[in-house]
């Protein structure tokens, strides 16, 4: 199976260099989607000749960047994609686990962060509450609902028809797994928190909550 690594990023000049170095070592083709960065992200990424670089003119959100990245990868012949965050919180050494599980025939492989390795308590509790809420409303329990480290096959991605342009995309993906009857599994991944100010904020969490309720009502 031909697998591409898709990395969405916004103002990640500080970390993206190391992330791409690690990602390229895995030997997979890499697509980076710059979601309208205003810092030196573009310059840093363009110094990596092997990385396919695409840019949104303005910041749309993680969901939109993921969709653009996946579309580029599929156009280039990918049969599966692995999504990875650009802030360096995921370790490239875990990529092999996703490749292995996609090879075993799973439609979607979800990374599950190891909470003993520095995930803030508030995030941990918020994530667990969200998982319980989704399991009640949609009858699918995923232990880490919003982990950005995940993989999907081309067919599964197309079936999911993701709508979200923001951080709700990961939750939507889980809900669509259930709705579309896709096979999935979870793999544990290591997490390093470089920047706690970034990522899903309380406001994003509130927005995700309302989206979840909307999806339940508009099924």
């Amino acid at each position: 199976m031909r697998i591409f690594l898709v990395i969405p990023g916004y103002n990640e000049a500080a970390h993206i260099g190391n992330v791409l170095k690690g990602a390229l070592k895995c030997g997979l083709p890499v697509v980076f989607v710059d979601d309208g960065s205003s810092d030196k992200t573009q310059k840093v990424v363009k110094s990596f000749k092997k990385v396919v670089y695409a840019r949104h003119k303005i910041n749309l959100g993680k969901g939109a960047a993921i969709k653009t990245g996946a579309e580029i990868a599929f156009k280039k012949g990918a049969e599966g994609v692995i999504f990875m965050d650009s802030d360096g919180q995921h370790k490239p050494s875990d990529i092999g686990k996703f490749v292995e599980k996609l090879g075993e025939g799973y439609d979607v492989v979800l990374g599950t962060r190891n909470y003993s390795s520095g995930v803030p308590l508030v995030r941990y509790l918020g994530n667990k509450l969200a998982s319980i809420l989704v399991s009640i409303l949609f009858r699918i329990y995923v232990s880490d609902l919003i982990c950005g480290f995940r993989a999907t096959t081309r067919n599964a991605f197309n079936k999911m028809e993701l709508e979200s342009a923001d951080y709700a995309v990961e939750t939507e993906m889980v809900i669509k797994i259930k709705k579309k009857g896709l096979s999935y599994c979870e793999v544990p991944v290591e997490t390093v928190y470089n920047d706690t100010a970034k990522g899903v904020t309380i406001l994003d969490a509130v927005n995700i909550f309302f989206e979840v309720v909307r999806w339940r009502l508009t099924r």
Binding site: A54, H56, K57, L60, A64, T68, E71, K75, A165
Partner: protein
Amino acid sequence: MIIIIQLLFIFFAIAMIYIALIHFKKRELTNTDMFVWFLVWIFAILLVVFPDFLRSFSQTFMFARLFDLVVVFGFVFVVVIVSKAYLRTRQLERKLEKIIRNDALDKLDEKKDAKKK
């Protein structure tokens, strides 16, 4: 006291008509939009000047006080406007997302073509 409140509301409604007119002159509102907003505020002024007109309605809909009727209908009006604004915003978000994403994909194809040449 009531006359002062009525005058204040009339002043407010005239100001709102003026604001609509400014947007109309800037071509941000169509003829129909301007006409609708003009009617809405003129109707509101008439209701404030002749509140007894609504009294028969409040009795028909079993409202004890005229004020309750105005509050309920005002609330319904606001809900309709907010829903419409919400739907329009979502539509615009989707269109914007499509344009920006297509632009990113097109630029990538242009780069590929340029390399081939």
